[in-house]
């Protein structure tokens, strides 16, 4: 039970306060007792002081009577006799007024009575004093005897009273000294105990709390090894144990996290190195590709450019043959010449397409705000004017503005519109649609947030199995007889879209039409 109380802070404080309370009560009782003792000693002194005062007064009156008697003895006049008797009365009065105790008072009463008789006896001798010298000497001796006894008794009582007073004073002084020494010792003891209590509080509460706070501060400052060096059974000890346990767990977790962070950093470093390596490889390949592309484009341009002159020459000479020598050839020959002319024309278209593609790739871009809807409407009007017989239902979403090169965008839109117009030629109710996908529609189709434009038709469509070849040069999904074309248009569109940082792709089904989607940065 005691151990349990002692091992709790409230219990310790209760014990400490209890002891201090007992000490203070004891201290108060002792101080009260000491004050009462000093008071009692003082009360014993006061009556003695009064008695000494009365005795002194009595002694003075005795001395005055003796002096008066001396004078009367020497001179013997009536006035001296009256003064002597008055002094006697004063002496008697001083005895009566004083609160002396017996036997002194009784003895003095007796002595004063005898003294008065002796004085009166001497005072009665008024004639021929020298002849009655014996009576005077004897009477005087008697008077002085009484006076001496009175003085002696007074002196004895004064001495005794003084002794008592001294004793009482010594007792009082002794009591005061004792009280003071006791007060000093008790105060010193109390101070010692209070200092001990302070040290005990410091050792039991302040120091452990200080150690604990230092440990907490050190831990908060980053020292994960900081621990409270407090080993106790009370609340502070338990708090320290909890703190130490908590810090151990935190240290373990932090160590684990640090290990993970180090691993992650190593992985990131490795990834970064790989990325750098990859970027270097990509850059190197890109440079190689760019160089190859430039070479290829230069080659294509050169080839196309250089091929046009001999082709024109062939075409020219073939037309001369047709115009000037066709009557000299049979029908087969003429047929062959027409075929050559037709292929030369196709060859020129191919070369022109390649040159166009090459120019679009190499041309400098001039970026500005472009109304894409207006471009589509213009291209649709041009396509419709080329074949006024056809009826196409155009659905063009208005005011779709983009930032790009207007010339290139016009070429791309024209290829897409011409393509749709061409492949809806056999549709019963042709319909071509241009617009912007809604957010929901664009979901999952391209990068989140990038607007996706589309041109949709209900024409011939295509097989998605060949979608990968759709934007390659000279690749065609239909024969020349079905739909004319040289297979460069979509490649050109793709090149323009790419130069704008966008992407183009297509969806379709044979006979169900096709939709071309594209984005622009």
């Amino acid at each position: 039970m005691i151990r349990r109380i002692w091992n709790s802070i409230p219990g310790r404080f209760a014990i400490g306060f209890g002891m201090v309370l007992v000490l203070m009560m004891v201290f108060f009782l002792i101080s009260f007792n000491q004050m009462m003792a000093v008071n009692a000693a003082a009360q014993k002194i006061t009556p003695l002081g009064n008695q000494i005062y009365s005795l002194n007064n009595f002694a003075v009156q005795t001395m005055l009577l003796e002096t008066s008697f001396d004078r009367y003895l020497v001179i013997g006049g009536v006035m001296d006799r009256d003064a002597m008797m008055e002094a006697m009365k004063n002496l008697e009065r001083s005895l009566m007024q004083a609160q002396f105790e017996d036997p002194f008072k009784a003895d003095m009463m007796s002595e004063l009575g005898n003294l008065r008789d002796a004085l009166e006896k001497i005072a009665s001798i008024s004639d021929d004093r020298l002849s009655r010298s014996r009576s005077i000497n004897e009477g005087a001796i008697t008077v002085y005897g009484h006076l001496n006894r009175i003085k002696s008794a007074t002196r004895d009582l004064v001495r005794q009273t003084n002794e008592n007073l001294n004793t009482m004073t010594l007792l009082q002084q002794s009591t005061i000294n004792r009280v003071v020494s006791q007060f000093v010792v008790l105060t010193a003891a109390l101070v010692l105990i209070l200092l001990g209590s302070l040290w005990w509080i410091s050792a039991n509460f302040v120091r452990p709390l200080t150690l604990l706070s230092h440990a907490v501060a050190a831990f908060a400052g980053g020292d994960l090894t900081a621990r409270a060096d407090v080993f106790r059974q009370d609340e502070i000890g338990r708090l320290a144990q909890i703190f130490n346990h908590m810090t151990e767990q935190i240290q373990e977790q932090v160590t684990h996290l640090q290990q993970q962070a180090e691993d992650l950093a190593a992985a990131e470093e490795e990834q970064r190195n790989l990325n750098l390596e990859l970027e270097e490889r990509v850059a190197r390949r890109t440079a190689q590709l760019q160089a190859a592309n430039q070479d290829l484009e230069a080659f294509s341009y050169s080839v196309s450019h250089d091929l046009r002159a001999p082709l024109r020459s062939i075409g020219g000479f073939n037309r001369i043959l047709l115009e000037d020598y066709s009557e000299k050839m049979d029908d087969r020959g003429q047929e062959y010449l027409h075929r050559v002319d037709k292929n030369v024309a196709r060859m020129e278209q191919l070369i022109e397409g390649l040159l166009t593609l090459s120019r679009l790739t190499r041309a400098e871009m001039e970026m500005k705000k472009v109304n894409l809807s207006a471009l589509v409407e213009e291209c649709a009007a041009e396509a419709g004017s080329a074949d006024p017989v056809r009826k196409v239902d155009w659905l063009i979403q208005p005011e779709l503005n983009v930032n790009g090169d207007e010339r290139l965008l016009r070429a791309a839109v024209q290829n897409l519109v011409d393509n749709a117009f061409k492949f809806t030629a056999k549709a019963a109710a042709a319909r071509i649609e241009f617009g912007l996908l809604t957010v929901d529609e664009a979901e999952g189709r391209w990068k989140q947030g990038s607007p996706v434009y589309f041109i949709r038709d209900n024409g011939a469509g295509f097989d998605m199995a060949y979608a990968g070849r759709l934007f390659q040069v000279f690749q065609r999904m239909h024969t020349q007889d079905e739909f004319q074309g040289i297979g460069i248009g979509l490649a050109t569109v793709k090149r323009i879209i790419n130069r704008h940082g966008g992407k183009i792709w297509a969806e379709g089904q044979p006979g169900q039409g096709a939709t071309f989607y594209f984005t622009l940065n």
Partner: protein, 347 residues
């Protein structure tokens, strides 16, 4: 951990001890009204183990010795100091042979007693015992009742001090001069060594004007005759010693002096008080108490050298009312207050 628990235990133990110690102070503290503090040691404790030897030149039945003893006892007895009396009894044995032998025996006894201080009274003790045996020894000596002068003993002040005994001539003559009709002073005394020495010192006061009436034949009749002669030739008569007068009749002498005295008379000798108007005699009690107090001072540590030789200053005063009646003298208040009365009865 174990050290911590041990420290906590010690802490608690120390605190309980402190607390218990405080509680143990309580009974002591509650004695506030207890006894007086013994600030100074009692006289008994000061003189514990100390011893004083008193060498009396005479015997216990001798009046002077009794006065000395009374003075010694009044001082020494209350202190608790141990003291012992060694009597030489030389009044009854005045021979030199006895003196030498008695002194040797007494010295041996004193050495056996091993006192811390020796008190020796009267000249016989100094002459026969102190000077030959103790004057230069290690035991301090206090003398008293040495007549008039101690120089003849050549005491060393480091070892010996004391009180010389003088007759109070100025004091007695102050009272007699008031009563006398003239300035002439005479003295009647038996012619012996003591009186010769006394009168020698008296004469210093009277500037050698003292008229001396020596009683040569040592008879009462001659003494009375010389008294009448002195009374006729002087204004004040001093009554000297009657020592050695074999036929001295006290009653007749008293009657003679009461009837014959016509001039103020005085005496320094107590046993002559019945025959003089005023007697101022030396006090053996004064000398005894002074010697005792001086011995105690020495025992308390005062060196002998610090205590100078002194002389007696008080005496016993007697007045003779019969002679006063004869002379029609009313004494002064001072005399009447302090005097003892010599009446018709012997003192």
């Amino acid at each position: 951990m174990w050290m911590r628990v041990k420290r906590d235990g010690l802490l608690l133990l120390g605190f309980l001890i402190l607390f218990g110690g405080f509680l143990m102070l309580i009974p002591w503290a509650l004695q506030a009204s207890g006894g007086t503090a013994a600030a100074t040691p009692s006289p008994a404790s000061i003189y514990q183990g100390k011893k004083i030897a008193w060498v009396d030149s005479y015997a216990p039945d001798y009046d002077w010795s009794q006065e000395l003893e009374a003075g010694l006892a009044s001082v020494l007895n209350p202190t608790g100091v141990e003291w012992q009396i060694f009597r030489l009894d030389m009044k009854r044995n005045p021979s030199e042979e006895y003196a030498v032998k008695k002194a040797a025996e007494t010295a041996e006894k004193i050495n056996a007693y091993a006192p811390d201080v020796i008190i020796a009274t009267d000249d016989n003790a100094q002459q026969w015992l102190i000077v030959p045996y103790f004057a230069t020894g290690t035991v301090p000596v206090v003398f008293a009742s040495v007549n008039w002068d101690d120089s003849e003993y050549h005491f060393e002040p480091e070892h010996v001090t004391g009180m010389v005994e003088v007759h109070l001539v100025p004091q007695l003559m102050g009272q007699l001069d008031v009563l006398s009709q003239g300035s002439r002073v005479g003295i009647v005394a038996v012619d012996d060594i003591t009186e010769q020495k006394n009168i020698e010192y008296y004469n210093r006061y009277f500037d050698r004007q003292l008229q001396i009436f020596w009683v040569e034949e040592k008879t009462q009749a001659e003494y009375q005759r010389l008294f009448l002669q002195a009374q006729a030739q002087t204004d004040v008569v001093l009554i000297g010693s009657n020592a050695g007068i074999g036929d001295w009749d006290e009653a007749a002498a008293r009657a003679f002096f009461i009837q014959s005295t016509e001039k103020p008379t005085g005496s320094f000798l107590q046993w002559m008080a019945p025959y003089a108007l005023i007697t101022l005699a030396k006090s053996g009690q004064e000398e005894g108490s002074w010697a005792a107090e001086t011995a105690l001072r020495i025992l308390q540590g005062t060196s002998v050298q610090e205590i100078p030789v002194t002389r007696n200053r008080t005496g016993r005063l007697w007045i003779n009312l019969d002679i006063a009646e004869k002379l029609k003298v009313v004494f002064s208040p001072y005399v009447l207050k302090h005097a003892e009365v010599i009446d018709r009865e012997a003192p």
